[in-house]
């Protein structure tokens, strides 16, 4: 557990520092945030055609209300936490890669729900929007990361789950 904890904190700090570099911001974070706005808008337009995306901003053309997806709301930090937790935990690499692939989808899917819900909550009540934005959704996204990690940890084969190694030929023959 100590090894996991130290490795987790180290990876977390390194990945977060990497995220803050201008290169990663320009070539990954900004395009990802814009894509998140576009994906959220494309889902919303299924039932509300009066919504457009412009860069990282989602806007209602009906009443002019808009939300801008900023750092902390684009799911990048939540993904970094999940990556660090999965990489730090002792498991076969195949399981780590599967966990990361499925985990990223799970975290980002809930993040799309967060963005869309905040867009409509903001049009309904500003105080509720602030509460949902600053406290509730932050906790829910972290809970999502923790649940994904717990599911992944449960599915890692334990050493005592594996079949016993085959006996050496000479012993098997005897």
């Amino acid at each position: 557990m100590v090894r996991f904890f130290v490795l987790f904190v180290t990876l977390l700090a390194l990945l977060f520092a990497l995220e803050l570099t201008p290169w990663v911001q320009a070539y990954f974070v900004v395009p990802w945030t814009n894509a998140l706005a576009a994906i959220s808008t494309s889902i919303v337009t299924v039932f509300d055609a009066n919504v457009i995306a412009s860069g990282k901003v989602i806007r209602s053309v009906t009443n002019g209300f808009a939300v801008s997806i900023e750092a902390g709301c684009n799911g990048v930090e939540a993904t970094i936490v999940l990556l660090a937790a999965i990489f730090a935990f002792p498991a076969p690499w195949r399981h780590k890669l599967i966990g990361i692939a499925i985990g990223i989808v799970a975290v980002q899917a809930l993040n799309v729900v967060r963005v869309i819900s905040l867009f409509y909550i903001g049009q309904w009540d500003h105080a509720v929007f602030e509460w949902a934005h600053q406290y509730v959704w932050q906790a829910l996204i972290m809970l999502d990361v923790l649940i994904v990690w717990l599911i992944w940890v449960r599915r890692i084969p334990r050493a005592d789950d594996l079949p016993p190694p085959a006996a050496p030929p000479e012993l098997a023959a005897g």
Binding site: M1, L20, G72, E77, A139, L140, L150, V153, R154, D161
Partner: protein, 194 residues
């Protein structure tokens, strides 16, 4: 609800609104130790920058020694920081702990609470420093006396303290105080799948 993990998640979600309500109502009391930590750090490291620290509910007002500008020579600059922004992990940790219902639950709650306090103070202090060193007008920022490297460190401390720590610390604290529960979840899966 035969799946223990699913049951745990649903119970956590049921506890979350209760925990948030208690946290919000009792925030001035729950976060009083954060105020004490912040006061201690200010007295030790930033006594020349902050004249007094006032608490208004869950908001800390840093009354600085900095002047807002030449035109208002008699004024003082005050920075307000909402402690709740860095403390939403407390209700999350409480909900997770109450849902796990392992032995010595109240002890785990107390340990998690105490473990999170310094990190909440980190966020509050970094928010204050970011305000006076980075986002303040140049006239104010120059009075604060931070160099370029120190401003970089403050920027990183603020980003880490606002985007990562408030969410990660409760999860880590919960994992570290619930190792037996986690082992139980894994063991039950092995039993149920065999």
């Amino acid at each position: 609800l035969g799946n223990p993990l699913l049951r745990f998640v649903l119970v956590t979600l049921a506890w979350l609104p209760v925990a948030f309500a208690v946290w919000y109502v009792l925030a001035p009391v729950i976060l009083f130790p954060v105020q004490l930590i912040v006061r201690g750090v200010l007295a030790g490291a930033f006594a020349d920058l902050v004249r007094t620290l006032e608490a208004h509910g869950a908001t800390l007002s840093f009354v600085t020694t900095l002047r807002p500008g030449e035109a208002r020579a008699g004024g003082v600059l005050t920075v307000d920081v909402n402690m709740l922004l860095y403390a939403f992990g407390l209700p999350l940790f409480a909900a997770l702990t109450l849902a796990a219902r392992q032995a010595r639950m109240w002890r785990a709650l107390l340990i998690g609470y105490l473990a999170m306090l310094p990190f909440i103070a980190w966020g509050v202090l970094a928010d204050f420093l970011k305000n006076i060193a980075i986002t303040a007008p140049p006239l104010v920022a120059s009075q604060a006396g931070f160099g370029p490297r120190q401003r970089d460190i403050i920027a990183f401390a603020y980003q880490f303290g606002s985007l990562i720590l408030p969410a990660v610390v409760p999860a880590v604290a919960w994992v570290l105080t619930h190792r037996a529960f986690l082992e139980g979840l894994r063991a039950r899966r092995v039993v149920s799948s065999s």
